[in-house]
Amino acid sequence: MARAVVTLPAQAKRGEIIEIKTLAQHSMETGFRRTQTGELIPRDIIRRFTCTYNGVEVYRADLHPAIAANPLIAFTTVATETGTLTFQWVGDNGYSVTEIAPIRVE
């Protein structure tokens, strides 16, 4: 089932700056909300997002409860070489999602 979606071009010119948009399906429970009977709902969020390009980390975001549910993270990276972009989301309660996208650079 779609736990995350990544949008980026399939190919680019060498040196071109490409836009990457990512969406992850996650409630990002803040830890500040209470149930109808007053109990605190425990925090459950995505803590870290990383993008690696042929194994090299090119972007990293540390998230806090103030990031909205189903988080969008959009950024850019330079198309340096053909290869694979790996996107990883890691969070509380063992949450871990990885998406892979190929890129052709000429």
């Binding site: 500040f32 975001a61 909205a68 850019t76």
Partner: protein, 157 residues
Amino acid sequence: MTTRREFLVLTAASLAAPTAAKAQLDPNLAANRRAAFQEALRRIVGDAQVRRGRVKLTLPPLIDNGNSVPLSVAVESPMTAADHVKAIHVLTEKNPLPDVVSVALGPRAGRASLATRVRLADTQTVTAIAQMSDGSFWSDSAEVVVTLSACLEEGLI
């Protein structure tokens, strides 16, 4: 002067769930959150001076819903090995926690930017700080007005 009814209500409230009541009735809430913001800022920049400029923080001035507010940060920088943005931090002064997001990046990013969606608890000022490769800090702030929509779901489920 407190009426007898008010006195009884206050007593009942103070006996039931004291920590929860304290959190909600904390008269120092605003001051505490501002202090937390200052502390978070200090954690990021240490003793360095934070200059205004080079950073552009974009938020809608009047937002539809505080649960999900589109936010973007762009920093002027050549993003070369010699001169680039190392990190972007976003902070708030009225949320329960001051930190929103911290990004680590470098010349591989091409442009120093971030677009995401954030939760804002109240009408307030949001601050974005860029940490440069030369150790300097730059910032921008934006004011947002947060309203509450009608016909909500609370109490229904």
